[in-house]
């Protein structure tokens, strides 16, 4: 059923120069298996249409995925005109997006 991703996933985001990073993690192996299959680079771009070039890394030991959103912040924090120039709340935005989550994970 459609529920905010943050119902089962936590996230933390921040800046590295002009790039933003967005870590997403879940709290069980079953949930990670689902997240890893579900949250592809394409899906992330669909949920965060602002994302352009994205790198995706898997950290199964932490039940986590890490995304780097290249160039999201222009020339870096001090110069960015983006709403939320340090991408601090990027993760909370992603958590609020409604997605199809398997019933047994809720």
């Amino acid at each position: 059923m459609k529920r905010p991703l943050g119902t089962i996933a936590g996230a933390r985001s921040g800046d590295k120069g002009g790039d933003a990073n967005l870590g997403v993690w879940v709290r069980s192996d079953e949930a990670f298996e689902w997240l890893n299959g579900f949250l592809t680079t394409e899906k992330l771009k669909e949920l965060l249409p602002e994302a352009r070039e994205v790198s995706r890394y898997e950290l199964p030991n932490l039940k986590a995925l890490n995304f780097v959103l290249h160039g999201l912040l222009g020339d870096g924090v001090a110069s960015s005109t983006r709403f939320d120039p340090q991408a601090k709340a990027l993760g909370e935005w992603l958590r609020s997006r409604e997605v199809e989550i398997p019933e047994e994970l809720l």
Binding site: G10, R12, G23, W25, L62, V68, D75, A78, F83, G91
Partner: protein, 401 residues
Amino acid sequence: MIRIGNASGFYGDRLSAMREQLEGGELDVLTGDYLAELTMLILGRDRMKDSSLGYAKTFLRQMEDCLALALDKGVKIVVNAGGLNPEGLARKLGAKVGYVTGDDLKARFPEALTANAYLGAWEIAECLDQGAQVVVTGRVTDASLVVGPAAAHFGWARDDWHRLAGATVAGHVLECGTQATGGNYSFFTEIDVTRPGFPIAEVDEDGSCLITKHDGTGGAVNVDTVTAQLLYEIGAPEYLGPDVTTHFDTIRLDPHERGVRISGTRGSPPPGTLKVCLNTLGGFRNSTTFVLTGLDVQQKADLVRRQLHDAIGEEGLTWTLARTDQRDAATEEQASALLHVTIKTTDPKRAKGFSRAAIELALASYPGFHVTAPPGDGTPFGVYQAAYVNRDEVSAKAVLL
């Protein structure tokens, strides 16, 4: 085991954290991170005004309050508060102080306002080996503040990759202070985060550690709060640093009655280059937010945009219209949208002229014209860039006063 605490995650963090960490329980070393990319720019501007400045002034206030207490308890202080002027800061402290220098590469990058290589742990370790009670550095990696004291304490070798990697993970967890103990945490509703305590890593000889905090402090240290911080500001799982390459996909977390055990971390040799934080002055910026209430929001935005372009030209202006307005709203605020405009320009006069142009619209624009706050004179802004230099081009040095 060595107990390493953190009392600062950025320049501006809780001033009383130093005292809280010293009084709250046992510690061997207390660290503090004061330097973000943006902070180097702020300190660079301080230094332009007064060459004796360029360090984190709040750390000096904390030392006025707490240095005697730290010395009394035998707790060593290791911070990067030296910023662009570690020697200047070191000379203001009444203790056996070591400082780390050599990160400043302005001579190599003369066009930059600040140019600093990210140094590592070994000069910090050297200061401690020589008996320093306080170590102040400039630009070192945040994690080095933890790796240095652990390496000195255990007498690690420079190629103890797994140990160094373990301590780097401890340092990464600690470097943002309360972000490891429930601050800025997605599942904040599950814990009491009114006033989170600052984190502590009890590092073992093999580089593994227990992340914990003093008894009776707020927040929480659990697998989720630690995971959240491990994911902060990272890229690929091979986390490159000056001391070691740390493999984040080997970290193992286990719950513990006093926090979280971190073990299993593997390390490998670091790259042959050091990262350099470059800040150049990009120009001047100014901004304002117009409030657009009620009907015809898009047309109101179009009008004010046309007017401002007519007054000062479009160049360097960025507009965003946030449709926060709701139809038929019961409060004025809910009936309102926000139109943000920012100017970035190399001409300080134009940044200042932006304010006058925006305010001159006050009686001549859309119905209901007002702004959230009047624009100021404009401020300079920096452009951050990373550069890389060979290790042998940087000569880091430990100096004991």
